[in-house]
């Protein structure tokens, strides 16, 4: 039997952000958590996601110039938040 380790919330968010920011995603998300939530990335909890999203989507909007992409990013993060909350 293979037991798969559950990815941390931070890892999950980095995985998603990677689709939009590429290799800059881990540093971008880690810095965002430290700055806007004043905590270490591994301490991220689902209820932190809306605040992180407020800042991240502004940055992604500037970088991608694609409203649909920003919407898509927001939805994916909110889905995680909801799933982790339940």
């Amino acid at each position: 039997m293979v037991i798969k380790a559950k990815a941390s919330l931070y890892d999950e968010i980095v995985d998603i952000t990677y689709d939009y920011l590429g290799p800059a995603a881990p540093r971008f998300i880690a810095r965002g958590i430290e700055t806007h939530l004043s905590k270490k990335p591994e301490k991220l909890i689902a209820s932190d996601i809306p605040v992180l999203l407020d800042w991240s989507k502004l940055a992604i909007a500037l970088l991608t110039d694609d409203k649909q992409m920003v919407e898509d990013f927001s939805q994916r993060l909110l889905v995680i938040a909801e799933r982790r909350n339940t």
Binding site: L21, A24, F28, R31, G32, T35, H36, D54, W55, K57, L58, A59, A61, L62, L63, T64, D65, K67, V70
Partner: protein, 370 residues
């Protein structure tokens, strides 16, 4: 008690239009260029100074994505990666970011600016960014002329000052005859003054060099413990003269880094000398070196007069000297900490300061391990 009359909110469309016109007039009257972006990363507001400075029309800019419309370069002309642009840094840091950079004008030329970008907050949520920037072409020209003048003047001064050193040295060593006690004292004074003069000229020359961007690093793997011990040995006499003690904490860990040993030595010389000069007689200076996986940090702690919070912003500025109530000497140039900061910038290092008036200061140098 008289009742204060509450201001009536503008509710009708006429009032709203008047308020909007007033806000727009206010925005356009700002002498510096302003660009505001919205949640979609689009430019939502600019003022006349922006179109004037960048050469674009309002139609060229409004509703366009900011990053792909206004292109930014560093002062050397290299394109700034999007994530490193001040606007992105202000969103990542959640606070205003100020930087000097160049913007590409519509005619293809570059204009140097100093820009401050801040997140726009509404009810605690970021809803965009606003930046204020201004042309610094003239300031840069003046700065360049000043640097060139300093360099030229210092070169011209160094030659006669060095000749004075040689002739006073000949007198001092008694090569042209025995001196009386009074003559010896006078010559010694002249010799010491000339030494200080040469030191100031050297400081000016090296700052002129760093300001002109002509300084290059010769990095070698350097034992920082050894370097610090050498500086402490060199300064032992002047520290002892003030009855001060110096302690080196290294926990038997040797810290090395790829640095320009000569330049980093000048950093430690300046910081240790300052720690001693700004501390009272009998004070203790502690040097604490630590290593992590990515950097080496060297803290230089003193028990000195401390630095008032209001003086902190000018600490690393050129020609700024903070008053030292412990000393009547005024032989400093105000270039020491400016130089320290520049050398560390060249090494991608940092310097931080913690200080409390009357309780001392800690300057921490951080050098990345390459």
């Amino acid at each position: 008690m008289p009742k204060l009359k509450q201001p009536q909110p503008a509710v009708n469309s006429k009032d709203l239009a008047a308020e909007k016109a007033k806000t727009e007039a206010l925005f356009d009257s700002i002498g510096e260029a302003v660009i505001a972006t919205n949640e979609q990363g689009e430019i939502m507001r600019i003022n006349d100074a922006t179109t004037e400075l960048l050469g674009y029309t309002s139609a060229d800019l409004l509703s366009k994505n900011y990053l792909s419309t206004v292109h930014a370069f560093d002062l050397d002309g290299a394109a700034i990666p999007p994530l490193m642009r001040p606007v992105m840094r202000s969103l990542i840091e959640g606070k205003p970011v100020t930087d000097k950079l160049q913007y590409l004008k519509k005619d293809g030329s570059l204009v140097p600016v100093v820009a401050t970008v801040s997140p726009i907050m509404l009810s605690g949520k970021p809803i965009g960014t606003i930046q204020v920037f201004r042309d610094i072409t003239r300031e840069q020209e003046i700065d360049k002329a000043k640097t060139e003048f300093l360099s030229l003047a210092s070169h011209q001064l160094r030659t006669p000052a060095t000749a004075v050193k040689q002739y006073v040295g000949i007198l001092r060593e008694g090569f042209v005859g025995e001196l009386s006690a009074d003559q010896k004292r006078a010559v010694e004074q002249a010799y010491q003054s000339n030494e200080r003069q040469l030191k100031i000229i050297e400081d000016l020359l090296r700052v002129a060099k760093v300001d002109s961007g002509k300084m290059s690093l010769h990095r070698t793997q350097t034992n920082l413990n050894q370097l610090l011990e050498n500086v402490m040995t060199d300064q032992a006499a002047s520290i002892a003269k003030r009855n001060q003690t110096i302690e080196f904490k290294h926990r038997n860990v040797t810290c090395g880094a790829m640095v320009d040993a000569h330049l980093i030595r000048t950093v430690f010389e300046n910081l240790i000398d300052n720690a001693s000069k700004y501390s009272p007689k009998g004070a203790r200076i502690v040097i604490d070196i630590r290593k992590s996986s990515s950097q080496v940090s060297i803290a230089i702690c003193d028990e000195g007069v401390g630095i008032p919070r209001s003086d902190m912003p000018m600490l690393f500025q050129k020609f700024k000297r903070l008053p030292n109530p412990l000393s009547l000497e005024s032989n400093g140039t105000g270039l020491g900490l400016y130089w320290v900061k520049k050398v560390l910038d060249y090494h991608d290092g940092q310097i931080t300061v913690r200080s409390k008036t009357g309780s001392g200061s800690t300057f921490t140098v951080i050098l990345p391990l390459r």
